[in-house]
Each structure stands twice: as structure tokens, then as C-alpha cells.
């Protein structure tokens, strides 16, 4: 680790000490943030796994129904029947704030109406199996939407946790040790200067005393 060169003076020392205090406080805060994010994330990811399993089952079931429908109807009729409806599904989006990560909340307008407002095609040319398949999908849809919401939230949280963890680590393993070593090196340098100064003073004092003694002796001899 390359050490940054710092001037060993008192002002620098004060500045670094202040910085260390801030870094320590920031480190603690980020650590708390990471822990809380992790707790939220684990809840979300558990829900995510459960929902995904459910969605996969529901879609598999719907696909089976669709397969049946395909078997009893020719594909042209089936496709015309399905394409007849319009793209009417819209979502309202809200955001939820989890530890300052904004995650989307999807509210389906379609859910508000509750029941499927009739099938989008006529009954005459289509088989009952198709109705079954659509109903199965309709049943799967709210769960899919929930999955989308939870999965997206989990992904965003995972990104945030990764970022926070990096910050925590860089504070803990880089910035704080560096500050401590800088502070240490400044104190050492200042102590060393202090000792140097002290010895110099002692030396000077010795010299002065010596001179005074010699002067006194010279006076004695003269008398």
C-alpha cells in the first residue's frame, strides 16, 4: 500500500484525526445499512424463490391447457381468436423505499376489476379447452406480477448491498488503516522533533554553564 506523503505538523495531525473520526462514523453507519439491507433482502429472496416456483407451476399448467386447446382447434382459428383482443393491460407504478433503494410496486388495473371481463373472442368458433387455458393464465397473472415486483426489488437490493459492502470494506481495510498509520507517523515525527529539541536545549544549557564556570575560574585566577 502506497503511503501518501503528509507534512508532519500539528495542523495536519488535527485534520487527519478529524477525518478518522468521520471515517469511523461513516463506517459504522454503512455497516448498519448493510446489515439492514441484508435482512430485507433475505426476506425478499425467500419470497422470490417461493413465487418463482409457484409461477413455474402455474405456467406449466396453463401451457398444458393450451396444448389441449391446440389439439382440438386448428391453429389459424386459435390465433385469430386470441389476436382479437386489444392490448388493454396497463399498470400503475408506485415506488417503495427500502433503505433508500427505490423499488417499483406494480398495481394492475386488471386486478382491480377482479374477474376477467369475458373472454376476448366469440364462443362459436372456439373450443372450451381454450377458455380453460386462458383462465389458467388469468389465474397465473397476479402471481407473475408479484414475482416481477419481488424479483426486481431483490435484484435492485442485491446491487445496493454489493455497493454498500464495497464501501464498508474500503473504509475498513483501506481508508481507516491508512489514516491511523498517517496519524502514527506524524506523532512519531513530532515526538522525535520534540526529543531533538530537548537534547539541543540540554546541550546549550551545558555549554552556557561551562562558559559560566570557566569565566568564574578565570576571575578566581586573576584575583
Amino acid at each position: 500500500m502506497a503511503k501518501r506523503q503528509v507534512n508532519p505538523n500539528r495542523m495536519e495531525l488535527l485534520r487527519l484525526k478529524k477525518q478518522l473520526v468521520t471515517a469511523r462514523r461513516g463506517h459504522k453507519l454503512l455497516k448498519d445499512k448493510r446489515d439492514e439491507l441484508m435482512r430485507q433482502f433475505l426476506d425478499l429472496i425467500r419470497a422470490n424463490r417461493a413465487l418463482r416456483i409457484k409461477v413455474e407451476q402455474l405456467i406449466a399448467a396453463a401451457n398444458q391447457d393450451m396444448l389441449l386447446a391446440r389439439a382440438v382447434m386448428d391453429s389459424a382459428t386459435l390465433e385469430t381468436a386470441l389476436m382479437a383482443g386489444k392490448e388493454s393491460l396497463t399498470l400503475d407504478i408506485d415506488t417503495r423505499n427500502i433503505m433508500s433503494v427505490n423499488v417499483p410496486v406494480f398495481a394492475s388495473l386488471f386486478e382491480v376489476t377482479g374477474e376477467l371481463e369475458g373472454l376476448p373472442y366469440g364462443m362459436a368458433s372456439t373450443a372450451g379447452e381454450l377458455d380453460q387455458a386462458i383462465l389458467a393464465l388469468h389465474e397465473a397473472f397476479p402471481v407473475m406480477l408479484e414475482l416481477a415486483e419481488v424479483e426486481k426489488s431483490a435484484q435492485l437490493l442485491a446491487d445496493e448491498i454489493e455497493k454498500t459492502r464495497r464501501r464498508v470494506n474500503s473504509l475498513e481495510y483501506i481508508l481507516i488503516p491508512e489514516l491511523i498509520s498517517q496519524i502514527r507517523s506524524i506523532t512519531m515525527k513530532m515526538d522525535e522533533n520534540e526529543r531533538g529539541n530537548l537534547t539541543r536545549l540540554m546541550k546549550v544549557k551545558d555549554m552556557i554553564v561551562k562558559q559560566a564556570i570557566e569565566k568564574a575560574r578565570a576571575l578566581d585566577v586573576a584575583q
Binding site: 413455474e56 406449466a60 386489444k86 435484484q155 446491487d159 459492502r165
Partner: protein
């Protein structure tokens, strides 16, 4: 108002049309990629994509992952699940926790089955 999109092979996704979703069929991964780019820039809140097509477009999925919208969610196609969806969930876990804490769970589950 946001829309819900579905990308996949025709057979897997046509049913969603009846629910009023915006269905886009893509036969090849390249087509799916173009569609994904296009839908991501429009007002789509959720894009469901079949796992087969998602698998061949993983870099793009990763890119969209950090965006708030849309949520790109892999779903099993008519051929069944490839496990990609669950794999992505576990990848999130790895990213956040630093290790796969559910690996043990899954191994236990596999043992039971």
C-alpha cells in the same frame, strides 16, 4: 400508464395476448434482443421473456438488471423450464451475500426427491 410485454416463441406466449398483454414473438435470440432493446426504451413496466431466449441474451439482461424499469422476468416456455429463472435468483443471492446460501437447501431438496 405502463404496459406489460411478453417476448417468446409464438406457441409459448400467445395465450398472454388474451389477457391484454403486449405480445411480441421472436423466433431467434437476435430478434429477441432487438425487441428487448425496443421495449426497454418504451413504457414497459414488466417484460416477461421465455427462458430459452433469455439465456442467449444474458449480457443484455444483466444490463437491464440495474435499471429500475423494466423488470425483465424469465418465464418457462412451452417446452418447460430450463432453470434459468431460479439460477438468476441464486445469482442475486451470491451477489448480495457473497456466497450461495441456498445451495445447501437445494442439495437437501434434491436428496429428498
Amino acid at each position: 400508464m405502463y404496459k406489460v410485454g411478453v417476448i417468446g416463441d409464438r406457441d409459448s406466449i400467445i395465450g398472454f395476448r388474451a389477457l391484454g398483454m403486449s405480445v411480441h414473438d421472436a423466433a431467434t435470440p437476435a430478434e429477441a434482443e432487438t425487441l428487448l432493446h425496443q421495449l426497454a426504451d418504451e413504457q414497459f413496466a414488466v417484460i416477461f421473456i421465455t427462458e430459452q431466449l433469455a439465456e442467449s441474451n444474458l449480457p443484455l439482461l444483466r444490463e437491464l438488471r440495474s435499471r429500475k424499469l423494466p423488470a425483465v422476468i424469465p418465464i418457462p416456455s412451452i417446452a418447460g423450464t430450463t432453470g434459468l429463472g431460479m439460477f438468476q435468483v441464486r445469482e442475486s443471492v451470491k451477489k448480495a451475500v457473497g456466497m450461495d446460501i441456498f445451495a445447501q437447501d437445494e442439495a437437501n431438496q434434491a436428496e429428498k426427491e
